[in-house]
């Protein structure tokens, strides 16, 4: 038996032992120990290299090659084992970390907007996208702006109909957001495209459909060549945006002191799509707003030349929109501020 053969047998033995140990290793530490035991400074394979001096010189290259081949093989086996073991350990860890996903989440920590405010933001979004400015006016208002400049002269029955709260003979709690129209027109800046949301007050006893304090959104467009057709198109667009594609609008002639011609606008019931249901009292239509072309008297009193400019105005009851949109059946809920109610929006 020459040295080469002897060496081969020895290497084969080392190989067998190493492979067996690698196979048995259950932890990364055990694998490290195997590496040290065979490939380390004092490892078995290193020992073989150290014994190369006993190998005849002419056989050394071949023996050296055999040793290197084995080293490479063991290195590869160790790496494979490490990879496999890592996967196994990760799988075990993941398995041990299963949680109960049905346990409760932390409480709802966000506050909620008031349904009126959310509905208003919707309306504002629609009109600002059409180029409307959102403006405001005083809630305590001169009688002159609340009535006279809106073509409602002293002692006009329309004044009585509005159940006005008076502060003095000349100062009232505004009964409508329409006075903002007059204030904006008086600034003289043209053209005007505005909406004016805000609180209004009327002497109505509190019940499921009435409140002495509620909100309106006034709209006003003044420019050269504004037509009733523009009013129709604008409000139809608004209704579709607010209540959904396919919403139809119906304009019915009506009367308001500060517009002429005037109209009330119905939309197809968004519950039954116009077929008639309990929600719309079987009519298929729901009234949502009043509107019309700005009355020439109003223009004249607000310093706008009615021969040059025309315009349209509309008024939307915000609570009405909110009640309809969220199917709230009692207006009093809006002013109680019970968090169980508010948290639904």
């Amino acid at each position: 038996m020459n040295a080469q053969t002897e060496m081969k047998e020895r290497l084969e033995q080392i190989r067998g032992e190493a492979m067996s140990k690698i196979g048995q290793a259950q932890t990364l530490e055990a694998l490290g120990d195997v590496r040290v035991a065979f490939l380390g400074k004092k490892g078995r394979l290193t020992d073989v290299l150290k014994g190369m001096k006993d190998v005849p010189a002419d056989e050394r290259p071949q023996v050296g090659q055999l040793v290197n081949e084995l080293r490479d093989e063991l290195e590869a086996a160790l790496e494979d084992a490490k990879g496999a073991l890592g996967k196994k350990l990760l799988a075990a860890r993941l398995e041990s970390e299963v949680i109960d996903v049905t346990l409760p989440a932390p409480k709802d920590i966000l506050g909620h907007g008031h349904p009126n405010a959310i509905a208003l933001e919707e309306v504002e979004r629609i009109f600002t996208a059409m180029g409307y400015e959102v403006v405001e006016g005083p809630e305590i208002e001169y009688d002159e702006y609340n009535f006279k400049k809106l073509n409602i002269p002293e002692n006009h029955p329309a004044k009585d109909e509005q159940d006005t709260f008076y502060i003095s003979k000349d100062i009232v709690l505004r009964t409508q957001t329409s006075p903002v129209q007059a204030r904006v027109m008086e600034t003289g800046k043209m053209p005007i495209r505005m909406i004016a949301p805000g609180r209004v007050f009327r002497s109505d006893e509190v019940d499921a459909t009435h409140s002495p304090s509620f909100h309106q959104i006034e709209g006003l467009v003044v420019d050269k060549g504004i037509t009733f057709a523009d009013l129709k198109g604008t409000l139809a667009e608004f209704a579709r945006e607010l209540f959904g594609e396919g919403t139809k609008v119906k304009f019915r002639p009506h009367h308001f002191q500060f517009t002429e011609p005037s109209a009330e606008v119905d939309v197809t019931c968004f519950k039954c799509k116009g077929a008639g249901c309990r929600f719309c009292k079987g009519e298929g239509w729901i009234e949502i707003l009043g509107c019309g072309m700005v009355h020439p008297n109003v223009f004249a009193m607000c310093g706008v030349d009615p021969e040059v400019y025309t315009g349209f105005a509309f008024g939307i009851g915000l609570e009405r929109i909110a009640l309809l949109k969220y199917e709230i059946d009692d207006m009093r809920l809006l002013y109680e501020n019970d968090v169980r109610f508010l948290r639904q929006f």
Partner: protein, 975 residues
């Protein structure tokens, strides 16, 4: 306004649409139909039956067995012997020969015999046996037919309704009873006074459905006294034979002027007063057709005289009053105002307190009625009336409205007068009443009318610009169509642009002529109220309700053709008026071209007008700066877990007591409502806590846990009281909470808000906020150092801007004794350099909590939004991220227990210089090795320079300065 379809059809004979089509068409042309009630609902197979034979029921004492002739209404079988039907009934009031409504087996009735609420589906009637005897139908009471004795006064109290003896068996009993009809309820807008009448609605209906309008024509009876016009023509056409034959005591030679004097003292409050008389009054029930029409309007028939006044009021929209002539002292009527302190008993028996603004109808000695509101007990018509006076007047609408309000009595009549009636309708209506007296044979009409009408109202004219109408509507409607609309509404068109009627037409109506009498022939499309075409009332048998038939022969079609020609000729001449439109006085609502445009639009159809979007210069739109800041504030509040609340702007004065405000607190000077809904809604809030605490209380009471609310709403601060100028409306952001969280939660929310609004610097907290509604040891005013920016801050009427000088800040905080927006501070209205108070926060005082029945600690914060709006900015400038390391120093010190950590931080900030980056409190501790009265406080201080690595020596120097500064306020480093 309720009206029977049949009544409308009487004046629009061509009307042939279904009730539903009518409803939709009228609604779209502007007369909204709110309800449609079919009177024959659930009345099926109901015919006239004549009772031929009555036998006793063999087994029941209270039942009878009737053989009823129902004519040809029977099909084969079903218990019929020829035309006879066997019906068993318990009704006590039938006898052989009576005609009664009979519902056949398989038919339906509307209600039960007891007159309760009508079942939706009606009550089906089947053949059956009553105590062993077969019955093949049912005889009906008026209640079973869906009505009641109010509207059928001739119906027996308990029993079968008896039809006229000459009714034909087998005929439709429902039609015979006038129930083949339906009733519309209209919503009439306040400007359309003319539509509070059947005639007005009928005119609209004719125009809507393109049918001829044939109104009744009054004045057929004894209108001679006024002389001339339609009256003169009609004299010969009175029913002379009839009137004369029933005349019992009146001297036909006597005219009204010989019998009655009328004097109007105040022609401003009573622009027109018309009186006519009838004598030999024969009270009786009204005929069936008249009763049915009143019943449809919801008016109970009483007797012919009362019914006539009601009928005319419904038909013409002109309230009428009837006086007993024999009760009028001095045979005269005087219209004058009452005297302050007078009292008067109205015919409902109530005694009313009068004042000098109220218009009264008086006789020679006393008041007999409150004009336009209600007659007096002392002159009401009784069964013994022999001669009566009809009043048809026009009163000042405003005066009637104010009087009715003061008296607290709004009657049907006042409701009409207060809208401002057409004075030119009064004589017409009065004549109509007299026509009905004759027609109903209720008395003998006295010749002539007294008509006090010193300043007749004439017609207005409006220029006709078809192109302007089209430009306003965005349409391309032909002028001819527009003129058709005007004609159908009774507006006259003058094609040449001149104004032949107008100011002068008033004179023509003087002397009792009907309005527009003279112009009827020339340009009157209306046919309404046409005095020139009066025909005989005697010819009206076919339609008694319509009175005089045969009107409207002169609708002038040529005029329209002319206008069309003109319209076409003018081509595109924008601005040229194509003549004028004369507005009859019953359309007081039509005043300008926009009004004409509406008339065109509503009959053209709002639905046919195109839908376009405004053209013209684009506008950017968007929220105002104020609203953007408020929007962000809402977002921050909601992110912090606060939900948005809304409360009323007015509240009870008691809120001030609940908030423990001293008697002289400025917040008690609030804007007060003169006519509040009640004490709880009386003052406009000057601080926003009442609503918030009420909301918290509601939630607490309902056991809601961990409640956090905020509100963005105005408070109202008067400049001076009583108010002469509008108050300062200040938007307040108010937070309120109980449950999880404390004072520092709210403090954090405020600081988050300030950061989000781009407001630099840390606010200072002054524990001496002086809020009586907050815990004295747990409250703080929030101050911001705004430096020179303070000059630009407009604090409105609030005290929140304090001067920067030594005493000024203190004065400022002291002056805040009230709310965040407390008024009355020396710095009021002034802008100053220095610091401003933007609000306050704290724990609610236990006594205030008690007042609101909140059983838990609660916290509130109020921030003045107008100040934040001025300070806020959304501009941001990037500062480079730190590139050099920081140096940290932790220090632990012992401070007197009462020293606020804010003082320590102030020293660190002041002494730390430019290299100080931050300081964080990380421990605060009392007890243990710390001596009593002291506390241990530990801070982690971070230094950094942006341009170099700091050296130890430099940091050490700053630290020594800081420690030195702390020693100065009695704070030592812990050993």
């Amino acid at each position: 306004m309720k009206t029977a379809y049949s009544w409308l059809k009487a004046y629009v004979p061509g009307l042939d649409v279904t009730p539903e089509e009518f409803r939709d068409g009228m609604t779209l042309s502007g007369t909204k139909v709110e309800g449609v009630t079919r009177l024959d609902k659930n009345l099926e197979k109901i015919v006239v039956g004549k009772i031929m034979q009555i036998d006793r029921h063999p087994d029941a004492d209270k039942l009878i067995v009737c053989q009823v002739d129902v004519g040809g209404a029977l099909q084969a079988g079903g218990g019929a012997h020829g035309h006879l039907l066997q019906i068993v009934t318990g009704a006590p009031n039938v006898k052989v020969g009576d005609c009664v409504p009979v519902v056949l087996a398989g038919g339906k009735v509307a209600g039960g015999h007891d007159g309760g609420p009508l079942p939706e589906g009606g009550i089906p009637i089947k053949a059956g046996k009553l105590r062993g005897v077969e019955s093949f139908g049912m005889m009906c009471s008026i209640e079973e037919l869906g009505s009641d004795r109010n509207y059928y006064p001739d119906a027996p109290e308990d029993g079968i309704y008896i039809l006229p003896n000459d009714s034909k068996p087998g005929d439709d009993a429902v039609a015979l009873l006038g129930l083949r009809d339906c009733v519309f309820e209209f919503e009439v807008t306040s400007n359309r006074v003319d539509c509070y009448s059947v005639i007005g609605i009928a005119r609209e209906a004719a125009a809507t459905f393109g049918k001829e309008f044939c109104p009744p024509v009054a004045g057929g009876h004894g209108v001679g006294g006024g002389g001339g016009g339609g009256g003169a023509q009609s004299v010969g056409a009175v029913m002379p034979a009839k009137a004369a034959s029933h005349s019992t005591g009146a001297n036909p030679a006597q005219a009204i002027h010989d019998l009655l004097k009328v004097r109007v003292d105040d022609t401003k409050l009573c622009p027109r007063y018309v009186a006519r008389m009838a004598t030999n009054i024969r009270l009786a029930p009204s005929p069936e057709w008249l009763q049915r029409r009143l019943a449809a309007c919801g008016i109970r028939p009483i007797n012919n005289i009362v019914d006539i006044t009601n009928y005319v009021m419904e038909e013409y929209g002109q309230p009428m009053h009837a006086f007993d002539y024999d009760q009028l002292a001095g045979r005269e009527i005087i219209v004058r105002t009452a005297k302050d302190g007078d009292t008067f008993q109205t015919l409902d028996g109530q005694v009313r307190n009068l004042d000098a603004t109220m218009l009264m109808i008086c006789d020679g000695e006393k008041e007999v009625g409150i004009a336009g509101i209600m007659g007096g007990e002392n002159s009401k018509i009784t069964d013994s009336v022999r001669t009566m006076v009809f009043e048809a007047a026009c009163f000042d609408g405003t005066n009637i409205r104010l009087s009715a309000k003061k008296l607290g009595m709004r009657t049907d009549a006042s409701g009409k007068f207060e809208k401002g009636l057409d004075p030119n309708n009064a004589l017409e209506a009065c004549n109509r009443a007299c026509d009905l007296i004759a027609l109903l044979d209720a008395g003998d009409v006295v010749e002539g009318a007294i008509d006090i009408y010193p300043h007749p109202v004439g017609e207005k004219t409006i220029p006709f610009h078809p192109d302007k109408i089209n430009r306003l509507l965005g349409t391309d409607i032909e002028a001819g169509f527009m003129l058709d609309v005007f004609r159908s509404l009774g507006l006259k068109y003058i094609p040449d642009g001149k104004t032949p009627v107008g100011e002068t037409s008033g004179e023509e109506t003087a002397g009792g002529k009907t309005p527009g009498g003279k112009t009827t022939g020339s340009g009157d499309f209306a046919g309404a109220a046409g005095g020139a075409t009066v025909a005989s009332g005697g010819a009206s048998k076919g339609d008694p309700g319509r009175g005089n038939a045969d009107t409207n022969a002169d609708a002038n079609a040529d005029t329209n053709a002319d206008a069309n020609a003109d319209a076409n000729a003018s081509g595109g001449h924008v601005g040229a008026a194509l003549g004028t439109v004369c507005i009859p006085t019953f359309r007081q609502d039509l005043e300008c071209e926009a009004d004409l445009a509406e008339e065109v639009a509503r009959f053209y159809g709002y639905d046919k007008i195109p839908a376009t979007l405004p053209s013209g210069a684009a506008t950017t739109g968007g929220l105002s700066w104020k609203l953007r800041v408020e929007q962000l504030a809402r977002r921050i509040a909601e992110h912090a877990g606060f939900s948005q609340s809304m409360t009323y702007s007015f509240e009870s004065e008691k809120v001030f007591d609940r908030l423990r405000l001293p008697a002289d607190a400025r917040e008690r000077e609030a804007v007060t409502i003169i006519n509040p809904l009640g004490e709880d809604f009386k003052v406009m809030r000057t601080l926003p806590l009442g609503g918030m605490l009420t909301s918290l209380s509601t939630n607490y009471n309902r056991r809601n846990k961990d409640v956090r609310l905020y509100e963005l709403a105005n408070i109202y601060l008067p400049g001076s009281l009583p108010l002469t100028e509008l108050p300062d409306e200040r938007m307040q952001l108010t937070f309120g909470m109980y449950g999880a969280g404390d004072f520092y939660t709210l403090k954090g929310v405020i600081e988050t808000l300030l950061r989000a609004l781009g407001i630099p610097g840390r606010p200072a907290y002054d524990a001496q906020a002086g809020k009586p509604f907050l815990h004295p040891g747990r409250q703080a005013a929030v101050w911001l150092d705004v430096g020179s920016a303070g000059r630009a801050i407009d604090a409105g009427t609030t005290p929140q801007v304090a001067g920067s000088g030594d005493g000024a800040a203190a004065a400022g905080s002291k002056g805040m004794g009230g709310a965040a927006a407390g008024h009355g501070d020396p710095a009021k209205g002034a802008a100053a350099v220095g610091r401003i108070c933007i609000g306050y926060l704290g724990e609610v005082h236990p006594e205030t909590l008690d007042q609101y029945k909140i059983g838990d600690r609660a916290y509130v914060a109020v921030v003045d939004m107008p100040l934040l709006t001025q300070l806020a900015t959304f501009d941001r400038i990037y500062r480079g991220l730190a590139r050099y390391p920081s140096v940290n120093r932790d220090i632990s010190m012992v401070a007197p227990k009462g020293t606020p950590v804010g003082d320590i931080e102030a020293v660190i900030a002041r002494r730390g210089g430019r290299i100080l980056e931050s300081c964080e409190l990380f421990d605060i501790y009392e007890g243990g090795q710390i001596p009593a009265g002291y506390k241990s406080v530990a801070y982690s201080i971070k230094f950094r320079a942006s341009d170099r690595t700091l050296e130890d020596k430099e940091v050490q120097g700053v630290m020594e300065k800081i420690l030195h500064g702390l020693r100065e306020i009695g704070i030592e480093l812990r050993g």
